[in-house]
């Protein structure tokens, strides 16, 4: 297992360390965009930077899987003592660690900004770490969906099939809404009742746990699909 961790570190250390840079995106957005958008407040700029940082980090997290969709590599790793399950475990742990590093970097930068803002007697000081934590869990959920597609169908085909699935899901949702247009008000009212202030904290916290549980489930699904996918890799 140490060997696999070492291999991943040697191969992907730039991507892993780039999470720290992505975490500074709210601060960079503030510094770089201040001149271009003088009328915009600090907080909207920082939130823009936060979202940009998350998008960039998401793309970089998928790049650490690059090159794994090769048939020979799959056969070789399956024959090692750790097996393909050990290899996938290290991959999942690494992607999770990247998300954690991103969150840590974001929170550090956020607190540093607030400390500097307090010293410079700025009146607009708002922490955006809370939103960052939520986005972190959304990112965990997205990776839980992305990784099985990647290993089952390979990089290119996987992205294409995932896109088809997402579009099909959106069409299904729209069709569901259109077919129930008469009951739409009832559905919205039911949704409002469920998401009352009293319930919302419970639903939100349960959602966070579900995201983490889905990430583990995603690992188990990838383990089941990996060998089938390896048979179909292009090279």
């Amino acid at each position: 297992m140490t060997g696999l961790v070492y291999k991943e570190w040697k191969q992907n250390r730039l991507f892993i360390l780039s999470m720290i840079l992505c975490g500074t995106a709210p601060l960079l957005a503030l510094l770089l965009m201040r001149g271009a958008l003088p009328d915009t407040g600090d907080t909207p700029l920082r939130i823009g930077g936060l979202i940009t940082g998350f998008l960039a980090a998401g793309a970089l997290q998928m790049l650490v899987l690059r090159g794994d969709d090769r048939r020979q590599w799959s056969y070789w790793i399956t024959a090692t003592p750790d097996g393909y399950k050990g290899f996938l475990r290290v991959k999942y742990e690494m992607v999770f660690a990247m998300i954690v590093l991103l969150l840590f970097s974001l929170q550090f930068t956020d607190m540093l900004y607030c400390a500097v803002a307090a010293d410079t007697e700025k009146t607009e000081i708002a922490q955006i770490s809370g939103a960052a934590v939520l986005l972190g869990f959304v990112q965990i959920l997205f990776r839980a969906i992305d990784i099985p597609f990647f290993y089952r169908f390979g990089s290119k085909k996987g992205s294409f099939i995932k896109l088809i699935c997402v579009v099909a899901f959106v069409i299904f949702l729209v069709a569901l809404i259109l077919l129930n247009a008469d009951h739409l008000n009832n559905i919205i009212d039911t949704g409002r009742e469920i998401f009352t202030g009293y319930n919302s904290s419970l639903i939100l916290s349960a959602g966070l746990v579900v995201c983490t549980a889905l990430y583990y489930l995603s690992y188990r699904i990838t383990c089941k699909l990996y060998l089938k996918g390896a048979e179909q890799y292009d090279h």
């Binding site: 297992m1 140490t2 961790v5 475990r89 742990e93 998300i99 954690v100 590093l101 969150l103 840590f104 550090f108 607190m111 540093l112 607030c114 400390a115 500097v116 307090a118 010293d119 934590v133 972190g136 869990f137 965990i140 009293y198 319930n199 904290s201 419970l202 916290s205 349960a206 966070l208 746990v209 995201c211 983490t212």
Partner: protein, 289 residues
């Protein structure tokens, strides 16, 4: 094989570096009081000082970076991760709730509704997975280095005791900050430091056991996170209840604060001593059916 003399030298260097870091908040006291940025940077440097000290010591003594216990080792150890999550929560729940129940003020527990409690547990579970990483700065030093060097020198019980004392002394600048701001009296400060020393020495026993059981510092990181956060969460829930402002403080604090932690320490020191005894036995006795 590392000799006792080498271990003592490494431990000495490590502790020297850690205590140099402890002096930082005292040296830069006026700067910290004047600037939020300086406070933030020094605080972060200080909170990562055990890990930084362990890395510096490893570099200086040339022992390398092996056995830092940085593997997750989740396989077969998931139940110990769950224990790291659950035990501090149970322990502090007992410490917070029992005094209120025994003092006959169950109406103060109005915040402890099923929904609130479940929501808190879910939040703690999710956040312990992604937010506990900051505590790596402490655990990489205390459990990942110091305890390993202490155990051959002072034995298991000695490591728990001395490790706990060092760990609590490291928190001294935080306690002193309150005193230096003029917010607390000296007897209060001494009570706080003493209380922290008892709590951390007891809890350190559990963290040492976890680290040895799983050969990883991550369960200790989660346990440490839960130690900090479960107190905060339970205090929040308690203050959501109808506690009158003139409520007797002895009803919500006292000896029972320490009792669950002392029980944990007794149980885990017994387990640690049993494991040490087993490890010392020749393998043909250990493997006897």
């Amino acid at each position: 094989m590392t000799t006792k003399k080498e271990n003592a030298k490494r431990l000495g260097i490590y502790l020297l570096i850690v205590f140099l870091f402890i002096s930082l908040p005292f040296i830069f006291r006026s700067l910290i009081n004047e600037s939020n940025t300086a406070y933030f940077i020094i605080y972060y440097l200080f909170s990562f000082s055990p890990a930084i000290a362990s890395l510096i010591t490893r570099a200086v003594t040339g022992e390398g970076y092996r056995d830092m216990k940085l593997h997750l080792n989740l396989r077969g150890n998931f139940r110990w991760y769950l224990l790291a999550f659950g035990l501090p929560l149970i322990c502090f729940t007992a410490a917070f709730i029992l005094p209120v129940v025994f003092s006959g003020h169950t109406e103060w527990l109005g915040g402890f509704t099923f929904r609130n409690v479940l929501s808190c547990i879910f939040t703690l579970a999710a956040l312990s997975a992604v937010q506990s990483i900051g505590l790596l700065g402490e655990e990489l030093g205390w459990r990942g280095y110091m305890n390993q060097k202490m155990e051959p020198l002072f034995g298991t019980a000695g490591t728990c005791l001395l490790g706990g004392i060092v760990w609590s002394l490291w928190h001294l600048p935080m306690d002193m900050a309150v005193y230096n701001d003029g917010e607390g009296a000296l007897p209060d400060l001494l009570m706080m430091c003493g209380g922290r020393m008892v709590m951390l020495t007891c809890f350190g026993t559990f963290l040492l056991w976890l680290t040895k059981k799983t050969d990883s510092i991550f369960p200790a990181v989660i346990g440490h996170y839960m130690f900090n956060e479960s107190q905060r969460t339970l205090a929040d829930l308690l203050w959501q209840g109808n506690i009158p402002e003139n409520a007797a403080s002895d009803a919500v604090a006292g000896v029972s604060d320490f009792l669950p932690m002392i029980i944990i320490a007794a149980v885990f020191i017994a387990l640690l001593l049993r494991d040490s005894k087993k490890a010392a036995e020749p393998s043909f006795i250990r493997n006897r059916p």
